[in-house]
Symmetry: C2
Subunit: 424 residues, 2 copies
């Protein structure tokens, strides 16, 4: 891989050193993971990332926050505020999924300001450009698609979602098999529409080598999108989903052979009892490439709370081996997220990632819990709150009701078990 | 069991019939579960419960909401408002944990108004009564304790948490073993204090037959409290916890022999990877008595969000076989919950229980998801929102931003994958 070759030549040694230090592992461990394809470092060679991250086996579970405008809401200033929230609440990466007319300005600003890796779905740019010309995505040419990929690579994007697995065969299976929720991926739906209109194979699949060349040139990590991820727990782990995953596994192998970093995107909506199977299957079919999951949501019934329905699935997925969790906000299925939604989504996902790290035995993960618990047990409220994930919220709740003495809270008062048992 | 004997005599046949209908199982299935001790129906014979519930193997996972005053906050009117929220958001049971001076009035009002089973921890009444007399819990007599149990039984309480497992042996183990977070159960801490002060064995343990007599008389279900549940993921599944669980298993057997309905309370704070083991151990040691878990929280670091840290654990616990989930609110570890906190806790736990039911294959559990997903896929917003868990919140989020046509939302706009793929 280019990153490895660079490392050998000393160019990227610094980046590897930094991520190794952040993880508390050796550079050798990172280099081995890069070689095996079990670790990626999304970092466009044009960018100087302040807080880079490595994603993959043996490392802390990472979280991504999707930000960006929609045709109906958002602008540069709003998205930069979302980015500030991502920094404040410790996202590891952000994806700019903008689809407004000023998408170029938004992406440029986010890349300029973001201290962390930035990802995109280049197809969205293709769709917005087509709209600008009063055309539609289905009428775009293969060159239009690669124009956007190339442009975003030059802009400095660190990782791309590429929907190359939605092939004619897979769509045939979907038609035959049927589903409750059809296609719920924007990139997947756009691609399926293009293929139907043009009666042609998926252009990203057919021209995958062209994708690889650009990715290699800029050292962009590819994230192979799951255009047919299930959008209902009733559709989970069905034939179209697995057929696409098999194709992604083959494409991942080709990427690896070409020296391009690659990870695989995964569902979606999956019942708790199918999560382990989904992770094991991805690892097996994709040669242990890092797995980047969206949730999964463990039930479909709670729009407004999908940060919770999906954090349940994400924590389990992380425990079973998913490496990278794409957050879901309370606005999922209903609206574009607000600043507050971004925060809520991020907190839910930090909880998911951290609880997964404790469970899978990531070194020192439990240390944070120990610290918080020691302060809690001694009712050292100031430190307890300061050490917690969201000190502002914890403090606001704690201060709501006054108590006679400061070493108890308004829940138990003098019947505080910690205070009582301390004296025993 | 009394409930069985009653059923045989036709007295409680109606109650069994009603819970069977609610669950979509036969009365025979419920009766068999009651006989085996794998199902309980908390229902004081003095009460006429409008929405009774059965808890246990093969049934929907149930959720309990803790309400009640603290020494610093709450009163009859406030607690009845909390009860209204419990009804609105479908709690299966409530526990009144009041510790204010007007605890009697609160309990009476809750029992009178609650359409669902009501539980308590009678020790709290003992503690408040002692305080009223300017005394302390440690100075109360065994008769004082049984006075409260008898009084609450006559008041109509449907299930009691009884901390009979905190024995001298177990406390010795705790002292020897050490812990980050000591004793985090109020009942457990009060009992340990009493035992130390009086240099005597746990009076609920020593007089367990007396507890059983009262429970049998009123057909109150016992919930054997885990006074030594871990309060930090660092303490999970430690020797004191397991030693107490073994005692609870023996007490459960005694209850069953006497014809008293019994369930077992469980942790607490448990890392994801230890949850399955905890459930299996309880089932084994307690002869498959229903397991009533508090969460468990899968990390200690997020006070302010413990409805989420614990809903993750609760959904997994439910999947592995826990029967009854005690909710946790965002105020946990910080303050007494407000009305809004009660709602947030309940929603998180309905998500946990429902996702567990899908995963463990409870009949028709997925039907709700199918309905919501069908409406979602057809962008029938009105029905989608109406069928969801919290229509008010879903609608508020959906309406935030306007779109040109009504069949899309402000997230994807015209790039709505469902709309695009519908046309394919």
């Amino acid at each position: 891989m280019r990153q490895i070759n660079d490392a050998r030549r000393g160019h990227k040694a610094e980046l590897i050193k930094r991520v190794a230090k952040l993880e508390g592992v050796s550079s050798r461990f990172i280099i081995d993971g890069l070689k095996k394809g079990t670790i990626v470092i999304p970092a466009n060679r044009l960018r100087n990332i302040k807080t880079p991250c490595a994603i993959g086996k043996g490392l802390r579970t990472k979280i991504n926050a999707n930000i960006g405008t929609s045709p109906y809401y958002g602008n540069v200033s709003e998205e930069l505020k979302k980015l500030d929230i991502c920094v404040k609440y410790h996202a590891d990466t952000v994806m700019d999924l903008s689809t407004s007319n000023d998408f170029k300005a938004v992406l440029k600003s986010i890349i300029k300001k973001s201290p962390m890796p930035v990802g995109t779905v280049p197809l969205y740019e293709v769709a917005v450009r087509a709209k600008e010309k009063n055309s539609s995505f289905a009428k775009t040419s293969v060159d239009d698609i690669f124009f956007a990929i190339q442009r975003q690579a030059e802009e400095g994007v660190d990782f791309f979602t590429i929907h190359a697995g939605v092939t004619e065969d897979v769509l045939g299976l979907l038609k035959k098999h049927g589903r409750i929720a059809g296609i719920v991926s924007r990139g997947g739906a756009l691609m399926a529409k293009w293929m139907k209109k043009n009666k042609r194979e998926n252009p990203l699949y057919e021209n995958f080598d062209r994708v690889l060349s650009i990715a290699k040139e800029y050292d962009i990590a590819l994230s192979l999108g799951d255009g047919l991820r299930p959008g209902s727990v009733c559709d989970a782990t069905d034939k179209p989903q697995i057929a696409e995953l098999k194709i992604l596994g083959k494409l991942a192998r080709r990427a690896k052979e070409k020296g391009v970093q690659v990870m695989i995107e995964g569902p979606g909506h999956v019942p708790i009892n199918q999560i382990e199977k989904n992770i094991k299957l991805q690892k097996k079919l994709c040669n242990n490439a890092p797995f980047y999951v969206l949730g999964p949501l463990v039930t479909d019934v709670a729009p407004g709370y999908d940060h919770i329905t999906s954090a349940i699935g994400a924590s389990l997925a992380g425990y079973y081996g998913a490496d990278f969790l794409c957050y879901v906000t309370p606005a999922e299925h209903l609206s574009i997220p607000t600043l507050e939604d971004v925060k809520e989504g991020l907190i839910a996902y930090r909880i998911a990632a951290h609880s997964a790290d404790i469970a899978k035995g990531i070194k020192d993960a439990k240390g944070w819990d120990k610290t918080v618990s020691i302060f809690r047990t001694s009712r050292d409220w100031k430190r307890h709150i300061k050490a917690s994930m969201d000190p502002e919220k914890a403090e606001a709740i704690h201060k709501r009701f006054k108590t006679e003495t400061k070493d108890i809270c308004s829940m138990c008062g003098e019947y505080c078990p910690l205070k009582i048992s301390e004296k025993i």
